[in-house]
Symmetry: C2
Subunit: 563 residues, 2 copies
């Protein structure tokens, strides 16, 4: 295995003529912000441009973007952005990239483009788009692209094969290999076999479930489980799922029809996405089945299903508001059955279980994935990845879309299936891989920070700022303010001490005031008048005291003002 | 179902003569800080006294204790603290209760008491103890206690039946019903049947897995899985588990012996607990199997197993330090196999997966519960709970040990198995339940806050303080300092603005200074000189500006000093 272990940026050498360069700017090392840049003959092709959702280590952050730094001065070279499917971790950063240059063409399937266009419309960006479908081919500059159907937890997902004189590269996008999918659109293993026969020089493939042995349960086994829940429910049914999981919503529609219930869609993205899916013929809505929320709330509970967002415990989502009793129209009551028909995205466990407990507290029966088979993953586990590897027989493998544990597990599968160990390129965001004369190898690194979106601003939140937030979040702060004479350094007012997030017991922590006064007196006696030095003295005095008295580490905020 | 829905404390009426009062002070509404107080004829019996570990909603907190408030003025009435087993969520708060009165007798099995004594020794408390075992009976004041073996993820766990003239109560403690446990010590279903025949008036039973259908996998199925991992491993093996899971450690010892490896124990609690287990004959250590860490590090990697703490991703644990490269003696290297033979306690997912990724990054193969059957739960799922309910046939059921979702699921199982719905008491910490004339009912509430331990202090961290921490942790703060003349209210120095955790871009946020100056000038013109009022003006000015300019919500910290 070729492995990236260089922590320091080591800029790559110039790309040899006839070589293809691959730079993952996101998606390797974390599940999210997927983005891969391909370079051939001075031209660039981008595959996916998604966001990563923050975890507890990124407090207060709304979104994490790929670092566009390495391509910002080459935007004119970008031939297109190919979008494999419409999930946020693949399309969510498109508006931020188009903010730099609005006319980069977007290439994707009908449903994918419809979702990204809806997102761009909110920012008044009208993109240049090129709709493609499975079986299609497009020449995008020097990149000859061929598209293949893949089965995933959103309709109309594509893999893309990229041909250049440097060789044939297959990027799977996200996929699984449900052999009996609801829409009959299976992952095109036969097409991949044809590519394999032609000779795939490099395979980039989804690693999300590479650690998990075996095969994914067919999506259609969810239907009967939903049916039995619907059969048992005596009152209202509320189902939450991802707002883009058209097939899951279809199954809810089918069960509702079967059990004589109407469905109301709840949540802005749910309503919008299902409208798009219906218009494109991807969602079959029997006449009269869907009703508005107003009508739904006036109907007897046993005749209604609410199809909602919020399956990941998001507090501001429709389900999150219902759970905390803050939804304007819906109050959870005994007799309600709530189904969370979704996976549990790692990092969301605490919020999801909080929502479940609140729903249970309000009297609802809550069915979730620990309790019944109401969700299956959208990503191929190890057994399916081996099928793909054995059919494609790639010369080089680059695991993508995963945390380090997933990428490494996928690398092992590659080697077990016969890829030469020195042709498995295990790398992470910012690594630069060149495919030259049929061999992929790591040649350097470009800068690839996490770029944080927080409120309206992008990029003013750094890692050291997040460290400050973590310190403040864990221990609060103690602020000490003192006014000194600018000439003599003598204390004119203060010191005063105030604290937030540190301790309720102000009488106890005011005990530090005499210590600060004493330290300042000593400083004055020593002729120290520089406010910066005085600030350091205050900081040390308070810091030492709080450690001895409390064994806590609040942020110490000394302010010395000169008058 | 009798259900607690009163948010406001509604003090209970006096306990009727001949009645038994039950007050859960912890363990109902969250998994942890288990503690139940029984009262009869003016005397109290406490069952368990544990801690709860904080989640992201309790930043900076070390531990959460039960609220001892309702019994603090009645410590002399406490006949004993019965400890069902030695897990932290059942014994961890004992030192904090004994800090109020050191001579309350502790009653428990040999292993349980040994663990709690080791914990108390660190605080130089030597408790009064009474060792009991399954089959034994003890009269503790008016409480006639009988002890029963239960099978759990720690040896020597007990259930306790409490007889008073008010009736027979069975408290299961934590249990599962592995029918072929490694030590042959099964949950005493036959004994419970005898109690059932006698007539159990109230059952308090473990709800942790009440949502999960079916039965737990026998513990002995882990052995072969470990064996196959050991057989495949070519280099060093590191196994992490709970430091009290003696049977899991025994299995690791057995596999090590089988595969010709020596074992070194790593982590203070692992070494201590396994020493206790060996001394009590609960852990069988073949001669020469266990070596010191020094010896282990000098041996060839294929001859060694390191048995470590840190299975929950704790950054300061032995495994946590190895993962981050901070362990003094052990450096993870390619060829290492790391096994996390443990459950994933909800709330710990992010840290556990971070440790796994770091280990994978350093080259280790990591086997965890998603990948192989290296752990089974210690708590009975629904299928086993039904066995218990059907054997005991309690007149009243009070689900304990669980979040709300678990308690409710357990309540449903109770009703399905034939407990009268109005005899199922679904309640939470602080609720007061009286058993009078064979009927258990909710009669009121006592105060039951979360009591936070943070560093050396207990109880000075409140919910509103945690809210401050969350605000600071999500958005940092902007501090504005201004010195004004105490007579005229005119600005003498400042305003200055500083920020932590808010934005790197100081030039941008200094834009607020002229706005603050302007607001203060206006205040001066209006004759406002009160520093508190001026502070509010500064707060409003900065708050409005930051919302408009950033759409963020940092804490606004205005300081107005008079000279």
């Amino acid at each position: 295995m070729t492995e990236a272990h260089n922590e320091e940026a080591q800029l790559p050498p110039p790309l040899p003529e006839g070589g293809l360069r691959i730079i993952p700017l996101g998606g390797l090392g974390a599940i999210g912000r997927n983005m891969t840049v391909f370079e051939y003959d001075g031209k660039l092709l981008v595959v996916d441009c998604g966001v990563l959702f923050p975890d507890v280590e990124q407090p207060g952050v709304d979104l994490i973007l790929p670092d566009f730094g390495p391509i910002l001065d080459r935007l004119d070279d970008i031939q297109a952005i190919v979008l494999t499917h419409g999930h946020e971790d693949h399309i969510g950063a498109v508006p931020y990239l188009l903010a730099h240059k609005a006319d980069i063409p977007l290439v994707g399937s009908q449903f994918t483009l419809a979702l990204v266009e809806a997102k761009l419309a909110e920012r008044r960006i009208q993109p240049y788009t090129l709709t493609v479908r499975e079986g299609g081919r497009e020449r995008l500059g020097p990149f000859e692209c061929e598209f293949f159907a893949v089965n995933h937890s959103i309709p109309d997902a594509l893999a893309v094969a990229i041909r250049t004189p440097a060789g044939l590269v297959l990027h799977t996008g996200d996929f699984k290999m449900d052999q009996l999918p609801l829409d009959g659109r299976i992952t095109d293993l036969a097409g991949f076999a044809r590519l394999g026969a032609e000779g795939v020089d490099l395979l980039l493939s989804d690693s999300t479930n590479a650690e998990i042995p075996g095969f994914v349960t067919p999506e259609r086994e969810i239907g009967p489980v939903l049916d039995s829940i619907f059969a048992k429910a005596r009152g209202r049914i509320i189902v939450a799922s991802f707002a883009s999981h058209v097939h899951r919503v279809q199954q809810v529609f089918d069960s509702a029809l079967e059990h004589g219930r109407k469905v109301a869609l709840i949540g802005r993205s749910m309503v919008r996405n299902m409208g798009i899916a219906r218009d494109l013929g991807l969602l079959n809505i029997p006449a009269g089945l869907v009703v508005g929320l107003d009508e739904a709330t006036s109907m007897p509970p046993e005749q209604i299903v609410l199809m909602s967002t919020g399956s990941q415990g998001e507090p501001m989502s429709a389900l999150g508001r219902m759970a905390s009793g803050d939804h304007r129209h819906i109050t959870i009551a005994p007799g309600d059955t709530v189904v969370l028909a979704s996976s549990l995205v790692p990092g969301n466990e605490t919020s999801v279980y909080r929502v479940i407990n609140r729903l249970a507290r309000a009297g609802a029966v809550v069915v979730h994935k620990d309790v019944a088979k109401v969700h299956v993953s959208g990503h191929a586990p190890a057994g399916e990845l081996l099928y793909l590897l054995n059919v494609v027989r790639p010369s080089n493998l680059m695991p993508v879309h995963g945390e380090w544990r997933h990428l490494r597990a996928h690398a092992r599968l590659g080697i077990e299936s016969g890829v030469a160990p020195d042709r498995v390129v295990l790398c992470e965001d910012g690594d630069v891989v060149d495919l030259v004369e049929g061999r992929a190898s790591l040649v350097g690194r470009v800068k690839s920070r996490y770029v944080y979106v927080d409120g309206l601003a992008v990029g003013d939140v750094s890692e050291s700022l997040l460290t400050e937030r973590r310190i403040l979040g864990d221990g609060g702060f103690i602020a000490t303010t003192v006014v000194v004479d600018s000439v003599t350094g003598k204390v004119v007012a203060g010191p005063t001490v105030s604290a937030k997030g540190f301790s309720e017991d102000a009488a106890a922590f005011n005990a530090v005031i005499p210590l600060v006064t004493e330290a300042l007196n000593r400083a004055a006696a020593d002729g120290i008048t520089d406010p910066h030095q005085l600030q350091q003295i205050v900081r040390r005095t308070v810091g030492r005291w709080v450690n001895d008295a409390y064994r806590r580490r609040p942020m110490i905020v000394p302010t010395v003002v000169e008058v």
